[in-house]
């Protein structure tokens, strides 16, 4: 069953620049898909387009069908219904993804209250459960904290809990570990991996780092300058990259791995 079907997606600015060019990508229910490419290749814009969240002044053409809803050209009213339930996003920067003036618990409660109609003590329990699910210790304390009072890794877990609150069919993770300390990156990856498996969710995992993507996904799409360069099984691409650009991505990921290995060996 196809969950996300992107066909010929093209994203342009008002002054005529093409930022994403004729991109096609399909994700089946429960599938784990990677999207890699160097910084600026249009990965984030693609993910934003999936939920109709492109910045002002950018237009998408082509077709994006998400769980049967056409996103391109859809009205805000329809999009509001799709967001959070059909697909949700975890952003790269957890500090800016949370409202600095709102307690963490209330930010998670928002979608729960609206979508599931929970109230009072029931809502509080649901918030605590959501925080527990992302393996946050002392969920009650965290719920009462403001974003700046918890660590970066905890903030990203909160953002993940928010994204998962309405049990989306597709989780889009846009470089969710890039802004984190190296020491907690692996934990975050494992957490996403586990949660996605447990819930049988589909995932679109975006990164500039092939090593990170390889950990969570099976198939990857390689993007360069807004275009799809190649697509295939992660292992296949790592072993036999068809394009020079992909080979360079593989090489830089390898260098990172070996650098880590030498460090571990010491």
């Amino acid at each position: 069953m196809t969950l996300l079907d992107i066909r010929g997606l093209t994203i342009r600015t008002t002054d005529g620049h093409t930022l994403v060019d004729d991109l096609s990508l399909t994700i089946a229910g429960g599938e784990r898909r990677g999207l890699i490419g160097e910084s600026g290749s249009g990965k984030s814009l693609t993910t934003l387009a999936v939920l109709g969240l492109l910045p002002d002044g950018m237009t998408a053409t082509g077709s994006i069908e998400l769980a049967g809803t056409q996103i391109v050209g859809a009205r805000e009213k329809h999009l509001t219904r799709v967001r959070g339930t059909d697909a949700a996003i975890v952003f790269q920067e957890p500090l800016t993804a949370l409202d600095p003036l709102m307690r963490v618990g209330r930010q998670i409660a928002e979608p729960l209250a609206r979508r599931r109609g929970l109230k009072g003590a029931e809502l509080q329990r649901a918030v605590a459960r959501a925080l527990e699910q992302v393996r946050l210790p002392e969920p009650d304390r965290i719920a009462r904290a403001f974003p700046h009072e918890i660590s970066g890794g905890q903030r990203q877990r909160v953002a993940l809990a928010m994204a998962l609150a309405c049990e989306p069919k597709l989780l889009i993770a846009d470089e969710p570990t890039t802004a984190l300390d190296v020491s907690v990156q692996a934990d975050m990856l494992d957490l996403i991996d586990t949660l996605v498996r447990e819930r049988d969710m589909a995932v679109l995992f975006v990164s500039h780092d092939l090593a990170v993507v390889a950990r969570v996904t099976d198939r990857v799409l390689v993007m360069k300058d807004g275009r799809a360069v190649e697509e295939g099984d992660v292992r296949e691409i790592v072993r036999r990259p068809r394009e020079e650009y992909t080979a360079a991505l593989v090489a830089s990921a390898r260098r990172l791995e070996s650098a880590l290995d030498t460090r571990r060996a010491r």
């Binding site: 002002d56 959070g84 996003i89 993804a97 600095p100 994204a163 609150a165």
Partner: protein, 296 residues
């Protein structure tokens, strides 16, 4: 990037949680406390005048231009009215003018500003042009038009000042809202399906609030000055409601023989405006994360 991000997304609590050095804290609170004391004194005069004044405002039994003394703390004016009584009612009018104008400016300005921030294309251009024209339009001319249409009352003056100020507030709010709307947490809220009205009420307004409060405090001071100016020209509250501006105007001719009549309202006006500005400054340092963080 961090420059732009900083203002809206770090809140007052973020600033206070960073525990700025002692001297920064004390300088902030000195400013704030001085401001509160100065404007508090005048607020107190205004409040008391609601229930009690030494004489009735239109009591002319005091004899013309008596100097400061036992019966009349600051003396009397050229019609024999008690100066201190007039100062007290003048305080009330000043505070009413400030509050009224700021209320109009806040309600109209925030509404217009939020609309302008969401407007796109021609609507955005039209609204911005409208605000620019309103800002460029002299408050005095606006006041004369309103007085001509209604009559010279405190309400007319407040309406003119409030309308003029709402354009200024709207322009500030438009920029603040646009800046907050560009933040990831707004996209994150939209991602989880939150509707625009809820986003504005729950995320946008709270995040522009610290900066907005400071701006409104400054507008309060400006409104008090503007009202004094208008009533100096006879476009403010009519007699017997003494307003500081009219007291200044009436005492001008006798300034050399009886300076108290002009000095007293002038001094109070300056004290109130300085006091409110100090409050605004103190608030900025405690509420506005941009400066709060730089100093900490």
């Amino acid at each position: 990037m961090t420059q732009i991000v900083r203002t809206p997304h770090e809140g007052p609590r973020a600033a206070s949680a960073k525990r700025p050095g002692r001297s920064a804290v004390s300088r902030r609170s000195v400013t704030l406390i001085t401001g509160c004391v100065l404007s508090g004194m005048i607020l107190l005069l205004a409040l008391v005048s609601l229930f009690w004044t030494p004489y009735a405002p239109d009591d002319t039994s005091g004899g013309r231009l008596t100097g400061p003394g036992a019966g009349h703390l600051l003396g009397t004016d050229k019609l024999g009215r008690d100066l201190f009584t007039q100062l007290m009612t003048g305080s009330r009018i000043a505070v009413e003018a400030g509050l009224g104008s700021v209320l109009i400016a806040a309600v109209a300005g925030v509404t217009l500003g939020v609309l302008a921030a969401f407007a796109q294309g021609w609507l955005d251009d039209t609204l911005s042009a409208f605000l620019d024209i309103l800002i460029a339009f002299p408050t005095l001319l606006l006041a004369m038009l309103i007085v001509a249409a209604r009559s010279a009352t405190l309400g007319s003056a407040v309406l003119a000042i409030g309308l003029a100020q709402s354009a200024v507030v709207a322009r500030v709010v438009r920029i603040l809202v646009k800046r907050v709307l560009a933040q990831d947490y707004i996209t994150a809220a939209r991602t989880s399906g939150t509707s625009w009205p809820r986003i504005v009420a729950g995320h946008v307004l709270p995040n522009i609030w610290p900066t907005l409060v400071v701006n409104l405090a400054l507008q309060f001071g400006l409104a008090v000055l503007a009202e004094a100016g208008l009533s100096y020209l006879g476009l403010g509250a009519p007699p017997p409601n003494a307003s500081w501006g009219r007291m200044l105007q009436e005492a001008q001719a006798t300034f050399t023989t009886a300076p108290a009549g002009a000095l007293a309202p002038g001094v109070l006006l300056v004290l109130l405006v300085i006091g409110v500005n100090l409050v605004a400054d103190g608030l900025r340092d405690t509420l506005d994360p941009a400066t709060g963080r730089r100093r900490s």
